[in-house]
Symmetry: C3
Subunit: 296 residues, 3 copies
């Protein structure tokens, strides 16, 4: 027997405990103490956790955007990372509180209200469990009904990330199905792709569609090739234009528009060093549709 074994185990244990990362998302903003209260509860479970933020600037109650922001980021974090997403217009009502383990080994602690729409499709449902609040709820919080983010989600996430509980101890397993917000996928008919504008890259005014690169490549557009694009809001045309496709912004002059594949490999529109969404008054959502075809 290796006489160092107990020590090695202890060290391995310290090292393992330190892998515990929790990433928080919400619509709380950062002007008050709500986010810090959640992190405090997590740190009280284990001060060794590493606590990070996805964003807390999800527009109030916008579950669709919460779902997309998870889609945009979860895959870049290491396996085992625990996410907490609290955009929860139904707090205190009967919606389920769940932890999703994706097939990629990431965990997402959230109300099951549509927040898992994109991730459940892309990273897949490995296993879904209901949070058993009789054990996974901060002590002394019984009389508070309105801050599940702090009393249940941040607490459960920290227990999971710190290996205080196993995934099984979260609560009973559920069928492999989450509440999803319906959206029409992009489609190709002849040489025209029809899609929607899923979201804006708000900081820069870039417009992200739901057209994946695989579909776009079927149009056989080369670097610099021209596209006819039509953007409509409720069937009314907002923009009709012919713009070049480029791999990167710098290929067009400042102020000029282009189509490109964004960091999630979806077709997107931008103005180099400008704001496409603002200039052309374009927003996002299922009522914003887009048609793309090769220019003649």
């Amino acid at each position: 027997l290796n006489p160092f074994l107990p020590l090695l185990l202890l060290i391995a244990n310290i090292a393992a405990a330190q892998n515990g990362i929790v990433v928080f998302q919400s619509d709380f903003g950062v002007k008050d103490g709500a986010v810090a209260a959640m992190k405090g509860v997590s740190s009280s479970v284990s001060p060794n956790l590493r606590l990070y933020d996805l964003t807390h600037e999800i527009p109030a109650y916008n579950i669709w955007e919460a779902s997309l922001r998870l889609e945009q980021t979860v895959r870049y974090w290491p396996e085992g990372t625990v996410f907490v997403s609290v955009v929860d217009p139904g707090v205190g009502t009967e919606r389920r509180s769940v932890v999703l383990k994706t097939r990629s080994g990431h965990y997402i602690v959230t109300p099951d209200n549509g927040t898992l729409t994109h991730i459940s499709l892309s990273l897949g449902i490995g296993e879904l469990r209901s949070i058993d609040e009789t054990v996974n709820r901060r002590q002394e919080s019984d009389s508070s009904y309105t801050f599940h983010g702090r009393d249940v989600y941040a607490y459960t996430a920290a227990r999971l990330a710190s290996h205080t509980i196993s995934f099984e101890q979260v609560g009973p397993a559920l069928p492999d199905s989450v509440t999803a917000i319906f959206s029409q996928p992009a489609s190709l008919t002849g040489n025209i792709i029809a899609g929607t504008i899923s979201i804006l890259d708000v900081q820069f005014g870039n417009v992200w569609t739901n057209i994946p690169s695989g579909l776009f490549q079927q149009l056989n557009i080369k670097e610099g090739g021209l596209l006819d694009i039509t953007i409509k809001h409720h069937q009314k045309t907002v923009l009709q234009a012919t713009i070049p496709y480029h791999t990167t912004f710098g290929k067009v002059a400042a102020g000029q528009p282009l189509a490109y594949l964004n960091s999630l490999m979806q077709l997107s529109f931008a103005i180099n060093e400008g704001d496409f969404a603002k200039k052309f008054k374009v927003a996002s959502g299922s009522d914003w549709t887009v048609e793309v075809k090769p220019a003649r």
Copy 2:
């Protein structure tokens, strides 16, 4: 003698050092490098600290709000957590720089200018010490007079959190009394509770009063019971309404008002999926008063 003792001590030491959490609050915003400079100074004391933010969006010089945000969050962090709060209109003048150890074992490093008003009452004054700047001040900072947050507070907090100094080494003990901002506590007369609006939950427009749940319970209002509320600004009535009391937002329809107990167990007003403060033009402060009684 256990031959592993030195090693065990070393490991224990590494583990202990990792418990060091510092949480920062200020009115600096996050558009420039001020917050990062504070964290850099703390990391230079010990790179193993875990540095988090409460908020840096306290309105400029608003000591009252700084005090309330500490009240809203400190208790959720583990014992031994060190807070730095820098809302400091008097920087460079004679106000005391102190570290409060609360009875709950939390530390708060701050100018003693009213920032400790709420915490000193709720968590209690365990011990109060003046910061001895002859030792607890960043080297090479003698000629800078305007950034105590970086040169004294972040530095002292990191030394305390990393066990570089003991609490006694912060500086001389002070009498158990802090500078406090006066505010009238809520009171019950007959079946009417009179209170003030301490603060807004700005992100959602909820209105938080200073009426604690214990006082409110004396009205014997059941779930769904109706309240007559009157909100006044400088004695002028801004809102008179009859609204139901519920434990959670989802019990009323979207767009409908309700009274509820917030996450600090104080009576509050909200509109489900709406903005109560904006709709009824309500703000916060000692000049905003509220009366609550059971509806007939």
Copy 3:
């Protein structure tokens, strides 16, 4: 041979890995998942890193401000800290991607587009290396051209901070010269100092000039001494005033202007508990000049 040597090395190794701090700056804002995606990539390289933010509110494409914010903060962090700065209007074009090791032992990972203007002068160029993207680029990112911050910079920074690669393994050494944005240094002629307004302390409206304390001291102004200041925009006078010099804001009444040395020891203008920039309509940039002399 010490039988504990392997263990000690292991422990030292764990401890060393924990010194790895990465500090992020960008113009991405924090409303979407871009910053979190960068941190995820870094955590995937090593979950033990400590990841902090300088700011993500650099105005879009403003390289000058990015350079100044680094100047304002890098020096306060411990030796060995790795900074990532991504303000990159030229993403995807031919500008170099570099890592600067300053003479102070800090690392900055950035496009070499002017971002290193101030730091290269103040902390000095220790060594400059080009990032070899054939090895220092996240796997599976070959087809994405627009998010170097995530795929190259955050990835390389994490590898460097976690000692996965040595500084030499970043890529080939470059000559000791960075792309710099020209700006006229402040100068003294007779008893008049001419300088520019480098930046605003945006949160408080303080105005920071490029006049260093060493130059200012040659005017021999004592605490409370009066200065004649003239601020011009494109040669047109915006403000002419006589204001006192003080070491700290509290020496003048609330609402009164003063000159002082800021936290970087440069001459600055402020209104105690007010907003100098807003009140006098002053902004920053090389077209904003200032003249300072002792009042008669």
